[in-house]
């Protein structure tokens, strides 16, 4: 490919070079597109598409893993009907997941952006702060985090101890009371904003310094710069973070699984956790598959809405002014 480019470069430079058959084919939008796409496309068709379609098929069956694949029978829409009519935990799981995602995602992004702005400078101190704020993100879904978080928020935990030391007598069991358990998990998610912060930092670094310089020359102050340069230039990254975090928020599983197991009284029963229980503890894999597809549709609709709206608020440099 580079060979062709070099060969083409040898032609006179002041005209749009006319390419010969093979070279023009390989550089055409379609060919080049598919060649670059090939690794992902192969991977998708081989590793991803089959399991996804299989799960769609299973959602219409009563697959029980213990029987082995191939022994399931077709049940039509029964799984979907059961989901909405006989599953007493389903609506709780939906509600819990919506609250979790719709509260933790904006909070995370706001913190991430705010701190990224503060750390967007080349100083040793900034490097240290960046690392510190990123650290919580990498403790992730380990057992250690679960234990640590529990020990913070239970009635005799650190949070209450700190409150007591400043004079507030608090005996509330944050993690064990149904009304506040979800809040503890939301805080856990927000505490781990470092990953989003990194992406914002990357986005900030991509804003050419010349823009700011030109703005200063024109007499713009920091607020003006922020709203007229920074935010618009950041919109692709904000868009990405929004979609990505939303998907992660709705499919969240590990934190609830290892910290609270869905309790107390199902107040932290994330959708994915309920799904997992159905599939692996009650062996109703068909039903779990149906749950997954409903989740997919929900996330899909939300994503589609955000995508549609992106035309009006996301600014891509490459698409011109």
């Amino acid at each position: 490919m580079v060979r062709n480019a070099n060969a083409a470069a040898k032609q006179p430079k002041n005209q749009l070079t006319r390419r010969s058959g093979w070279s023009s084919f390989i550089n055409s939008e379609n060919a080049a597109g598919y060649i670059f796409l090939a690794p992902w496309l192969i991977g998708f068709l081989v590793f991803t598409a089959y399991p996804i379609f299989a799960s769609l098929y299973y959602s219409f069956t009563n697959l029980n893993p213990l029987k082995g694949l191939g022994k399931e029978t077709f049940v039509g829409f029964q799984n979907y009907i059961n989901m909405f009519t006989t599953d007493s935990v389903y609506y709780t799981a939906l509600r819990v997941t919506f609250v979790y995602a719709l509260v933790s995602v904006p909070l995370r992004l706001i913190f991430a952006l705010f701190i990224a702005m503060l750390l967007n400078r080349k100083s040793k101190a900034s490097g240290v702060y960046r690392t510190i704020y990123y650290l919580p993100s990498i403790v992730g879904g380990s057992v250690a985090v679960a234990v640590m978080w529990r020990s913070l928020w239970i009635q005799e935990g650190t949070i209450n101890a700190v409150l007591q030391s400043i004079g507030i007598q608090c005996e509330w069991g944050w993690l064990t009371q149904p009304s506040t358990a979800l809040m503890c998990l939301i805080i856990l998610a927000v505490w781990q904003f470092g990953s989003s912060m990194l992406i914002f930092l990357a986005g900030l670094k991509n804003i050419p310094a010349e823009y700011y310089e030109a703005a200063t020359v024109d007499g713009a102050g920091p607020f003006r710069k922020f709203f007229s340069i920074t935010i618009p230039m950041l919109t692709p990254v904000i868009f990405f973070n929004l979609i990505n975090q939303l998907i992660l928020g709705f499919t969240a599983f590990t934190q609830a699984y290892i910290t609270t197991r869905g309790g107390p009284m199902n107040e932290t029963m994330f959708y994915a956790l309920h799904l997992y229980r159905q599939g692996f503890e009650y062996n109703k894999m068909g039903y779990a598959s149906a749950m997954a597809w409903i989740l997919l549709i929900i996330i899909g609709i939300m994503t589609a809405i955000i995508f549609k709206s992106s035309n009006s608020w996301v600014y891509y440099e490459s698409k011109g002014e």
């Binding site: 496309l41 192969i42 068709l45 029980n64 893993p65 082995g68 064990t176 107390p264 503890e281 009650y282």
Partner: protein, 449 residues
Amino acid sequence: MKKTSLVLCLLLVLMTVLSACTDGSGTSSTGSTASGTSSTQASSEDTTRPITLGISWWGGSTRHEYTNKILDLYKAKNTNVTINAEYVSWDDYWSSMNTKAASNTLPSVMQQDYAKIGQFIDNGTIVDMNAQVDNKNLDLSDIKGDAFYGGKIDGKLYGISTGVNAFCYLYDATALKDAGVTLPSEKFTWDEFNTISKDMMSKAKLATVPMINTDPKFFVEMYVRNQGKHMYSADGKTFGFDKALLVEAFQKQEDLSKSGNALSPDIVNAATQDKDLLAEKKTWGEPLWSNQVINVMKLANDETRDFQLTMMPGTDNGGIYLKPSMLWSITRDCPETDRNAAARLISFILNDIEANKLAGADRGVTIMKKVNEALVKEADPNNKKVYDYIDVVGKYASEIDPPEPVAGSEITKEIKDQFDAIVFGKKTAQQAADDCWKNSEQIFATNAG
């Protein structure tokens, strides 16, 4: 034209790749364990042919450690056997096993849990071991009485107990004596329970924990069994008792919660197996499985405290039962030719005295007589309490209920949810029982398919 041909080329490549990959591995689905020998006649047992057995269990570092040592002992005595051991935590075990079950790649021998074994039996995932007992590869000659403890269903032996345990009420005898409260008798009646609960609160400010907070299903089960009923009906499609009994059982908890002697739900729910309420002197006693007792004593780390075991309140009329702590089963993915060898491995683990000394009572109190004698002789005082308790239970126990039906796991969760509502004071016993009954009927219905 050129674009279409490119796309077709790519499709061809894709198909070639896929078919090449699928062709190369057709034989891998017949169980992950058998080596390539082709002998199909298992009648005359050739104990020297090379064989590979897979075995899986769940546990923590301790159990992994000693079980591997046991397997090493076995391998030393049976040099033709290669053992592929898989071991993970309890949480991960079932995801892994279920996935393997779906693809027919289970290891030959697997550790089983009584609450889950019903599903494995119903779906044909584990096999009958009677043949192995008959041809003596699985040596059960030394078993205590008829102690199959639930592994035998309809005459077929699906799992052999690794050891037994039973529910008990572990209490701090020192604390009771110091408060001048009468110790529970061997039978622990409800009157005794209520009195102690009241007195310990007033005299020693020690509260009482809920009736089996982690798994209230067992409380309900023992309660109805004590009235001569069973948890589930014979066909597993409904409860084996009337709603009135459920109300009574829930009422016991409601009475406790409203008595002013109950430990706050926040403290109760913050406990884990490493942060034990009794060890930390937050309560005077708690319901536990007998094989959890040693841990509590270790956590308490206090020689001056005398912990004693007694039965669960109000279970002396056959309510209490001995349960297989865990079971060993042979899976359907174990090739027929290997089943005798698998049985011999299980037999060793159960009968070999050295192996059991390594295990102690970690997998329950052994059901083999000679092993029991050997272990009891060397038992430290704490372990001896557990062994003695199991003997006591034997006097009052009635046979364990058959394994749970398909709906069992969901019903257990439903009972827990309703029980929590009582503990948190959100529902009365009647309301909780009504909701529980209604939801359970739906669960039974959807699982009937």
